[in-house]
Point group: C2
Chain length 231, copies 2
Amino acid sequence: MSIEIYPIRGIPEVVPGDDLAALIIEGLEASQISLFERDVLVITHKVVSKAEGRIESAPDDRAYRNLAEREARSILRRRGDLLIAQTEHGFICANAGVDRSNVADGLAVLLPVDPDRSAHRIRLRIERMTGVSIAVVVTDTFGRPWRRGLVDVAIGVSGLPAILDLRGESDAHGRTMNVTEIAIVDEIAAAADLVMGKADGIPAAVLRGLDLTGDGRATDLVRPPEEDMFR
Amino acid sequence: MSIEIYPIRGIPEVVPGDDLAALIIEGLEASQISLFERDVLVITHKVVSKAEGRIESAPDDRAYRNLAEREARSILRRRGDLLIAQTEHGFICANAGVDRSNVADGLAVLLPVDPDRSAHRIRLRIERMTGVSIAVVVTDTFGRPWRRGLVDVAIGVSGLPAILDLRGESDAHGRTMNVTEIAIVDEIAAAADLVMGKADGIPAAVLRGLDLTGDGRATDLVRPPEEDMFR
């Protein structure tokens, strides 16, 4: 089994009310990519949020900070202008996911209200338009404690497990692996970012070759507070 | 630009003193993969550690815990048998990277003493044997605060930047992006894990299509304590 990842080019600037599924299909055609059964369509949430109208005015730093505080369910840390906050979905990230990059001056993009549902809706619409069964992963770019640099992670998923549970399976030595839950959709998100590139404005990619179906949600990735040692 | 990722099959069980570069080249031949210029060879540290003799006896839980404590530079949290510790390299992970999976009963595998140097040495040896310029990434499987599930990350690198610094570049709106340092080698590690699979005993993969060279180290990813809000 090998994996291929293709960037989807030609998706125009997305505005509220756009039919994102249709724009992605046009992008696939412009990029000369045919969808195959079980392909995984990876989409940065930025275009999902824009299509869903999750854009607000943020004319200055103060307005931006207020937006981030409003989107936060709780705030873990504050340093200067940076807020590490938990969103209503349960994700913990900078500024509760409110972001001013890749959007026009004076505006900020919020996370989708329910990114798992967004992924599901886009998946159904693309399946209906193309007749091909796919999975969809919606991503955002998160920092991490302890490790420098940002990585893309999954904040929405449809048609895949969020976590691959290998507990109980045997390793190559016949030992039962006891703590091996793989955050497979986060690995998919990170992989797809390799062809998207922050500066290039490529908001989606197709990942092919992962022979996997399932019914997970990105909120499965939220670690319950009682299991979390770093709040 | 598209990315392809190929699993390297046919690498036998590695024992101390093995010439890992030679075993990988045999695996490439068995898998019918030809190396191309700028291919990235991704290797789980488990086989690097074994070849380097970083295996110790851990006949019971207590011996295992003692090993983990010995490998830790400092301990951040303790819960039951689980230790979240900083290694001598600076990485923060479970049990200071000491692991009992994918190794014979009664043994535990430690992290390489200097995984960046291991990556560099393997790279030079493979380049000498094949005449092809490549990059090498050595990986481990880490948990994360806040998010359930494990992902593969880079603990050693040669021939690539660890972090892609897009600060100062413009986004698709012509805005200067101010906080966009991408942990590109962690994204590469996560991507490669998609074809390796914890249970399958595939310890290496080739990632092709990433047109990147550089001179980073995985220790570049260690966030300095004064920048870290979650110790």
